[in-house]
């Protein structure tokens, strides 16, 4: 087991307050989602539709991206392509530099987290302020998001109150949510007005119209993308959908699955810079499209389903492992089930293959995924990729999880279990000599009694009863 993940697990499991907080938060999110999908048949129909829309888009991804780029250029949106996060960061920096940007505000963007954009830009002397309340909180705390939709989900109201009190000593202490929000809003209002640029993520890119869709609840996305003179959007190449009509069903699935909302407070459709006669909007709009391993995932017919994801976080909210650990233990940008299929592919199995093993394959994630990504099946596939040796396929770090002792054990097991006569002898002997077998089975018996081998195996009992086929 790799040290980093193990340390994260042990730390998270040792934090009882965190676990109780996570359990309550997840219970509430699960209940909210359930309440907005009262009709099971309608939900399943919509999930099939969502999967078809995303599947269709991926089936013609290169063509749709080309069409999207052409429409964007017509609309006056500058499109930039970045193979790696380094390239993406440099591209953003160059745009900012050419506009002499000193201060910028950011809407929530997981791709910018993937890029480590804030860190990169701050090292270059550009002030980046997160304007989503959750992101604002974790930026104050110097942390990373623990959830892809609710980045500060791991923090209790009291922790946030204490953090605000520490960072803004002039403002009276309060743990009232409305008052805390008002504090953040007051600070952010001023920053929106002063910012030289706004950076945002994107939820859907529409190829038909060259539109960037942005889903949010706080209005900070709208402020970040309309108030400053320059808007730079960053997102992954997989976010494209074919046409405008694809958006309403996906939006409905996204908001209901994520937070149990029929619709968010704001839904922004950005189709270019400010036009003559318009009263707001940036003078320039740029879009940076990041690959960062997505093309490699795209190249595998089965694993491609990973890219259907619309980042609702429902798999995370329903995951019994995330509920125990929270997001930070994973040590990745994307935590939970989606992270456990995406991150090992993005970063390679050698480093993160263990995440695919850290699942009971209980299927709770796959059951709720709004675009029906077969997450357990893909976790299993990545386990295979981790130990296979035939050298076919695209997955980075293939075969690097294979351990000699483990592979020998499976080989021995398969030799035995594929030879019925031999297997019969082995089982009967195990039963006969069960008292002589060890009662301490490593970590299993730390919290459990060892399973008891029967006096006689079923195969022996059925022979007596004449139930066999011979």
């Amino acid at each position: 087991m790799s040290g980093e993940f193990h340390d994260g697990v042990v730390k998270a499991l040792g934090d009882d307050a965190l676990r109780q907080h996570l359990r309550r938060a997840m219970d509430s999110l699960i209940a909210k989602r359930l309440a907005v999908f009262p009709d099971q048949d309608a939900l399943q129909e919509l999930r099939r539709y969502g999967m078809a829309i995303r599947g269709n888009a991926l089936s013609k991804l290169p063509q749709l991206l080309e069409r999207f780029e052409a429409r964007c250029e017509e609309n006056g949106i500058h499109v930039h392509w970045a193979e790696t996060t380094d390239e993406a960061n440099k591209t953003v920096f160059e745009i900012l530099q050419s506009h002499d940007v000193k201060r910028l505000v950011k809407g929530k963007s997981m791709v910018s987290e993937e890029m480590g954009l804030n860190h990169f830009l701050e090292a270059k002397g550009i002030e980046c302020l997160e304007s989503d309340l959750g992101e604002f909180i974790i930026q104050l705390a110097g942390e990373t998001p623990s959830h892809i939709v609710m980045p500060a989900l791991h923090k209790s109201k009291q922790e946030i109150a204490e953090l605000f009190h520490e960072k803004f000593p002039d403002i009276p202490y309060s743990d009232d949510v409305d008052e805390l929000t008002a504090v953040a809003r007051g600070i952010l209002r001023e920053k929106f007005m002063q910012a030289d640029a706004g950076i945002s993520g994107v939820n859907f890119l529409i190829a038909e119209t060259g539109t960037l869709c942005l889903v949010e609840n706080e209005g900070n996305g709208r402020m970040s993308t309309t108030v400053p003179p320059l808007h730079i959007a960053v997102t992954g190449i997989e976010k494209v959908v074919e046409e405008l009509a694809d958006v309403p069903p996906l939006l409905s699935l996204l908001t209901r699955s994520a937070t149990g909302q029929p619709i968010t407070t704001y839904f922004n459709m950005i189709k270019g810079p400010r036009q003559p006669g318009e009263k707001d909007g940036p003078q320039e709009v740029h879009l940076v499209l990041l690959d960062n391993g997505r093309s490699r995932i795209f190249a595998d017919e089965e694993l491609q389903a990973t890219l259907r994801c619309i980042r609702c976080g429902a798999c995370i909210n329903h995951c019994p492992i995330y509920t125990r650990l929270g997001g930070h233990a994973y040590g990745t940008v994307y935590p939970g089930p989606i992270g456990s299929i995406l991150e090992p592919q993005k970063e390679g199995l050698e480093r993160l293959g263990e995440l695919a093993e850290a699942s009971t394959l209980c299927g709770a994630c796959g059951e709720v995924c709004p675009v029906r990504i077969p997450i357990p099946k893909l976790l299993n596939r990545l386990r295979w990729e981790g130990v296979r040796r035939d050298g076919t396929g695209e997955t980075s770090g293939q075969g690097r999880r294979r351990k000699h002792s483990e592979s020998l054990a499976w080989k021995a097991w398969s030799s035995l279990a594929s030879r019925p006569a031999l297997y019969r002898i082995a089982v009967k002997s195990a039963c006969r000599f069960r008292r002589m077998l060890p009662q301490q089975l490593g970590p299993w018996t730390h919290v459990r009694k060892a399973p008891e081998i029967a006096e006689k195996p079923l195969r022996e009992l059925v022979e007596v009863q004449g139930l066999t086929d011979e």
Partner: protein, 248 residues
């Protein structure tokens, strides 16, 4: 297979039932036989191959799975007293043998596989007469029975037929117990935390007994309860149903 009542079934007992819960296997077969069906236990059965498959060792899993494919000639349903082994055979055999000469055979086997409780309710439409004393029971429906096999209704409806049995519901009942095969050994800390929560929820119901469709869950939950000390007993649902309804 349609809705036609089969006359004969194959019983694929699974490796865990064979070695650890043989009475559950006998009970499962007895429940089917009592409905007038012939039950065949293919003598050469070993394991469905799931342990290696879930560990990523597909060649080894395939070798073991291939050894099961010839055990079920004809058209009889294949009944399995475990949601996860049934799920392996029904949903993963076709993938495991994709591109392999055994593919047709694997698909034919997959099509005929039933998880035991689902077979009792959905195919046999079994009617149970409870002969036991009043008892409070909690049901832990295994994740594979619930999700992969879609048979959560079966265990619930079977227990509901037992007049003297009161089914009590544990908090977070649809949540995994933390077994997950090799997961329990590879990620012991997480698994331990999960089974601790599961046993706490089960204790809180004050049920005298916990039943489940899967031996893996029983080993995990039962082993943890015994390690902790006093608590509900655990039993495979087939054994429980048979004991409650058996004419003595």
């Amino acid at each position: 297979m349609g809705n036609q009542m089969p006359r004969t079934v194959y019983f694929f007992a699974t490796c865990l039932v064979d070695m650890f819960y043989p009475n559950a296997g006998l009970a499962g077969m007895a429940l089917i036989k009592r409905e007038g069906l012939k039950v065949i236990y293919p003598r050469n059965q070993t394991c469905c191959g799931q342990p290696a498959y879930n560990a990523g060792y597909r060649d080894e899993a395939r070798k073991v799975a291939a050894a099961q494919l010839d055990l079920f000639p004809g058209e009889h349903p294949i009944v399995v007293p475990s949601g996860s082994c049934a799920g392996m055979m029904k949903h993963h055999y076709p993938d495991l043998f994709f591109d392999k000469p055994e593919h047709t055979k694997a698909v034919d086997v997959a099509d005929r596989v039933w998880e035991l409780t689902g077979f009792l309710t959905d195919v046999l439409n079994i009617k149970l007469k409870d002969l036991g004393e009043p008892l409070q029971v909690a049901l832990h429906t295994s994740c594979s029975t619930r999700r992969e096999m879609g048979m959560a209704h079966a265990g619930e409806s079977l227990l509901a037929q037992l007049d003297a049995v009161e089914v009590v519901e544990q908090a977070h009942k649809a949540e995994c117990c933390g077994f997950g095969g090799s997961f329990a050994v590879k990620q012991p800390e997480i698994s331990n935390a999960m089974v601790r929560d599961k046993t706490e929820a089960l204790r809180a119901t004050e049920a005298a007994l916990v039943v489940s469709q899967d031996s893996g869950c029983l080993m995990n939950i039962g082993g943890a309860i015994e390690h902790q000390g006093e608590g509900p007993k655990t039993q495979h649902i087939a054994e429980f149903l048979w004991e409650r309804t058996r004419e003595r």
